[in-house]
């Protein structure tokens, strides 16, 4: 089994009184072990609902979601599924429940009924992984948003999941906090081999992903490597997303007659591409 999560033919709807709102339609997708996938979509595209379907927080109305081969509808394996697929939410304040950092990180492993010494070990390791070990005795109240979100991630790592789903973890953070979180996530994927599914509407966060999925209206609009996604400016604009500034610049330059390769995401890459183009034009 190479896939950690398989979503098979899933439809999910909210019923509010008379009205039924379908948020996920005929969804089919698999996430490979150890991969780093970014799911992009504007508000209301169904991306948060998809996140909650992935670890059984929501159960599909039609179709099935399998985590490591276990159906999320299987009530007996509820804990097993949540242990394998951890979830980090948008607001760090509403995920932390203890007044001391290390107690909070210990919450997950404590629920799993692990031996106290082993819990201590996991908590220390998790805090070191997110680079917050020095803050273990502090109260979350005194930390910055980015630091609190790292504690929330540590709380998930301490359960030793195979996959972490992050539902807009940077939406409430300042640029510095956002960078801390993205760096942490990328490191978890690279060094610990944890499968990452990052849901976001910040395009820049997708640049180092293996795969980008664009969602709109409960459906997959595109599923490709980042470079190919960013090239497709019309498609991104049609689903209400903005092209990264660098790509936007390159496309504009191209349209106004400069033969520049638009396949660049980071600022350095873009600068290089422009320099090459200018050079070949003889400027």
């Amino acid at each position: 089994m190479n896939n950690i999560i398989d979503v098979k033919n899933v439809t999910f709807e909210y019923t509010g009184g008379e009205r039924i709102k379908t948020v996920i339609r005929d969804f089919d997708i698999s996430f490979a072990r150890g991969s780093f996938t970014v799911i992009l979509g504007h508000n209301g595209s169904g991306k948060s609902t998809l996140a909650k379907l992935l670890n059984g927080l929501y159960k599909p109305a039609v179709g099935d979601v399998f985590v490591d081969g276990i159906n999320t509808k299987d009530e007996k394996n509820e804990i097993e599924i949540k242990r394998r697929v951890g979830m980090v939410f948008q607001n760090p304040d509403n995920q932390l429940l203890a007044s001391i950092v290390e107690d909070d990180v210990a919450f997950g492993p404590e629920n799993l009924g692990i031996e106290p010494e082993k819990i201590r070990e996991r908590v220390d390791n998790a805090l070191k992984t997110v680079d917050m070990y020095d803050y273990r005795k502090k109260s979350p109240h005194h930390l910055s948003g980015g630091q609190k979100q790292r504690i929330a991630i540590a709380g998930i790592i301490a359960m030793e999941p195979e996959c972490i789903v992050l539902d807009e973890p940077t939406a409430m953070l300042d640029p510095k906090g956002r960078k801390e979180i993205i760096d942490t996530i990328e490191r978890l994927n690279r060094e610990k081999g944890i499968t990452i599914i990052l849901i976001t509407h910040f395009m820049e966060e997708a640049q180092n992903a293996d795969r980008v999925i664009v969602m709109d209206n409960g459906k997959i609009v595109a599923d490709d490597i980042p470079a190919n996604i960013f090239k497709n400016a019309e498609m991104l604009k049609s689903v209400g997303l903005d092209v990264p500034q660098t790509t936007d610049l390159l496309i504009r330059l191209n349209n106004s007659g400069l033969a520049v390769d638009t396949n660049a995401i980071s600022i350095e890459e873009a600068a290089e591409k422009i320099a090459t183009a200018l050079h070949s034009e003889g400027i």
């Binding site: 909650k52 242990r83 203890a98 629920n111 106290p116 709380g155 998930i156």
Partner: protein, 270 residues
Amino acid sequence: MLNDITFGQYFETSSIIHKLDARIKMILLILQIVFIFLANNLISLSVAFGFVLLIILLSKVPLRMYLKNLKAILPIILFTAIINLFYGNEGRELFSFWKITVTSGGVINSIFLTARIVLLIIISSVLTYTTTPNDLTDAIERLLSPLRFLGLKNAVHTLAMMMTIALRFIPTLVEETQKIMNAQKARGVDFENGKLKERINALIPILIPLLISSVRRAYELAEAMECRCYNGAEGRKRMKQFKIRYYDILSALISVVFCLGIIFVNFVTG
């Protein structure tokens, strides 16, 4: 480190009392209170005073902190003292006014009761000054844990979890209240002026947003807890195991000696 604790009375010093196990401290507190109330003559009361003084010194918390607590409940102490003057008709009559008679027995009674209340407040303050709210919550959960034999395991766990979450969210909600107040002030709500009724009405635009956001927080927190495999007390093990160390035993022994001392003095002099 003082600003790390935003709730409760915790006062950080490096005293031996701070290091004691919170459960031990709680049990000893109850024991000491009982025996302070058993002290029934001047000598045993002085023994109790001496003992409490010793604890104050050991706690390294400045005396003014304790006096601050006493000051806060001064009206209650005075009220009890005055009421007790009129009780009891032993001893010789000091003066009599209308239907009220004050006897020497009443005066002594009143002094004793006041002294006991003062000691009670001080010794309870020792617990709250030297123990963090988190340790107190943990201690309560563990002390109540024998109730699980009555089928109340989940009730005890739920109570402790509620206290933990409450402690965690107090600063967050205080901050949020401040934000809402500022937002409403910016919209022209006046909290400081006006009649009482107007000022109470001005609180409504604070309370309603606060309530709505608390419900939302509760909902999100519940989902986050579910994602972290929370299943009530079922199969849960704690990371921090309380260990009884030599100074815990020592403090328990000293307290027992104190209690026996009170009984002994009562017996010899009574």
